[in-house]
């Protein structure tokens, strides 16, 4: 039997608590960068002390209290400095005692409001998208710069720069660490949800590469989503996004074939879908529906639920899915949504009405380089018996995709169609 490695315990507790500790400090010192530094100081102390003194009984509380003391020391030094400047010597002791008590009181955050404020600040629209992603993972996820860099396949100094710039922007623009006023909440929340879903998609798209950091972005995004759902329980779209991520995650185990090749949703072995995540996803969706009208995430979750509820691809309720895509196209218009609607329509009503939709998209600039457009069109043409045209479309798709696995999938279709001609 071996006791667990204290460094790994420090790392684990840090990841669990970093968001809360940084959030509490940020409110006290009013600056995200400074709060993070103070929290890092506490982490360094833990790494120094725990291997010798043993892991404290309440390691999370230890980190929080140690970080608190750093903040108090800082405020003391500051107030001493300011007092010297003003040459006011009286009441110093009393003022310090007040400050200390206030700080300790103020650091309690039973409802997680600090975490929510920090999340809204890290996802502030004044920041670049890249900056928001990196800052959120760093402050709320407790991820190191190196881990973020590996997850996004960019050099570590690049991530360091993004975080540095984001913090500088927050301080230059004097962004207060606070919740936006009520009328601004929908737009600001949209930015938070966008950041979480971008993190999720970055991990979800990572079918290539064997670094565990990339897929773990999905777990991180899901964790952030679940935390947000706990903090903003009345927001329909928060639950909608959680539902969407839970349902998409449920298919992870079935998305790759034995040789690592992607398996299309309809060809996946549904026995490998994660029933627990499906159950959680459907429950979150039901909760979202009970709160109000579904937005773009809730609608996407409702579409994912059509797949999740079907025991086999044939059982899918394609009419419902086509209708949901139509609504989604109104809420969040996008040619990609329209293309997906075409696929649902082809399953519900046959290839001909679907081809009409797809042909309407051929002039779309946004889809010019999008391999799925020729791939879907090729599929519809094949079903209509227009083999030669179908083959051309799959050739086009193979030329457009940047994913090797996908290319070989398209080329196989080309070969099969050439044999039929």
């Amino acid at each position: 039997m071996t006791a667990s490695d204290p460094n790994r315990v420090v790392e684990a507790v840090w990841r669990m608590e970093a968001g809360r500790v940084i959030a509490a400090l940020a409110r006290i010192v009013g600056d995200v960068g400074l709060a993070e530094e103070l929290a890092q100081d506490a982490l360094v102390l833990a790494l120094e002390q725990w291997p010798q003194s043993g892991v404290p009984d309440n390691p999370g509380g230890w980190l929080m209290l140690t970080a608190k003391h750093r903040a108090i020391d800082l405020l003391r030094r500051r107030s001493r400095y300011e007092q010297k400047l003003e040459e006011v010597g009286r009441d110093q002791e009393r003022r310090q005692a007040d400050t200390e008590a206030e700080v300790v009181d103020a650091l309690d955050d039973p409802f997680g409001d600090d975490v929510l404020r920090l999340l809204f600040t890290a996802c502030h629209p004044v920041l670049s998208t890249e900056g928001r992603l990196a800052l959120t993972l760093r402050l709320l996820g407790g991820l190191s710069t190196e881990e973020i860099a590996r997850a996004f396949l960019v050099p570590e100094p690049t991530v360091g720069q993004r975080i540095f710039r984001a913090k500088r922007t927050l301080s230059e623009k004097q962004i207060k660490i606070e919740m936006p006023p009520l009328p601004e909440i929908p737009a600001r929340l949209a930015s938070v949800l966008e950041v979480i879903y971008l993190i999720f998609n970055e991990g979800y798209a990572a079918t290539a590469g064997h670094d565990w950091m990339r897929p773990s972005l999905c777990e991180e995004a899901l964790r952030l989503g679940r935390i947000l759902a706990g903090l903003m329980p009345g927001e329909t779209e928060v639950h909608g996004l959680v539902a969407l991520m839970e349902l998409q995650m449920s298919r992870t185990g079935a998305r790759l074939g034995p040789d690592g090749e992607p398996v299309l949703l309809l060809d996946q072995d549904r026995g490998r879908w994660d029933r627990l995540l499906i159950r959680r996803g459907l429950a979150a969706l039901q909760h979202a529906e009970s709160l109000g009208t579904l937005g773009q995430y809730g609608l996407q979750a409702a579409i994912a639920a059509c797949h999740a509820r079907a025991m086999s691809a044939e059982d899918t309720d394609w009419d419902r899915m086509a209708a949901l895509y139509l609504v989604l196209g109104h809420v969040a218009p996008s040619p990609v949504v329209e293309l997906n609607r075409a696929v649902a329509v082809s399953m519900a009503s046959g290839p001909l009405p679907a081809l009409e939709i797809v042909d309407g998209l051929r002039a779309e600039k946004a889809l010019r380089e999008y391999p799925q457009l020729p791939a879907v069109r090729g599929d519809l043409l094949e079903r209509l018996g227009r083999t030669a045209e179908a083959r051309e479309e799959f050739e086009r798709a193979a030329g457009l995709t940047r994913n090797e696995r996908e290319r070989s999938l398209f080329l196989r279709r080309v070969k099969a169609l050439a044999l039929e001609e």
Partner: protein, 121 residues
Amino acid sequence: MRYLITLKVTNRPDTPPPGELMEAIAKLGEEATKAGALLDNGGLAPSDQGARVELVGGKLTVTDGPFAEAKELISYALYQVRSKEEAVEWGSRFLKIHRDLWPGFEAEADVHRVFGPEDFA
């Protein structure tokens, strides 16, 4: 990564579990759920309400409870965490509230990693 933590009682005090403990358990469960870590959990009824299906020498037998067990399995919790240490930390927090609120209670929590898609890649 997913971890299943099972809780086995090794010494049950004569006193019933105090109300404060039940409150603390609920609070910790809520905290773990809101942290996005706790996926599922449940308490297990005494073995007199269960049964055992056994396979020995190619023969199946079914026996109704109760079963005499030195360590009674009383609950399980399924966590989604980033490391074994995190799972251990949640398990420790769970046992610490028992230590603090139910004197004499002794138990062991086993932390098992659940295979996931990454194991079959």
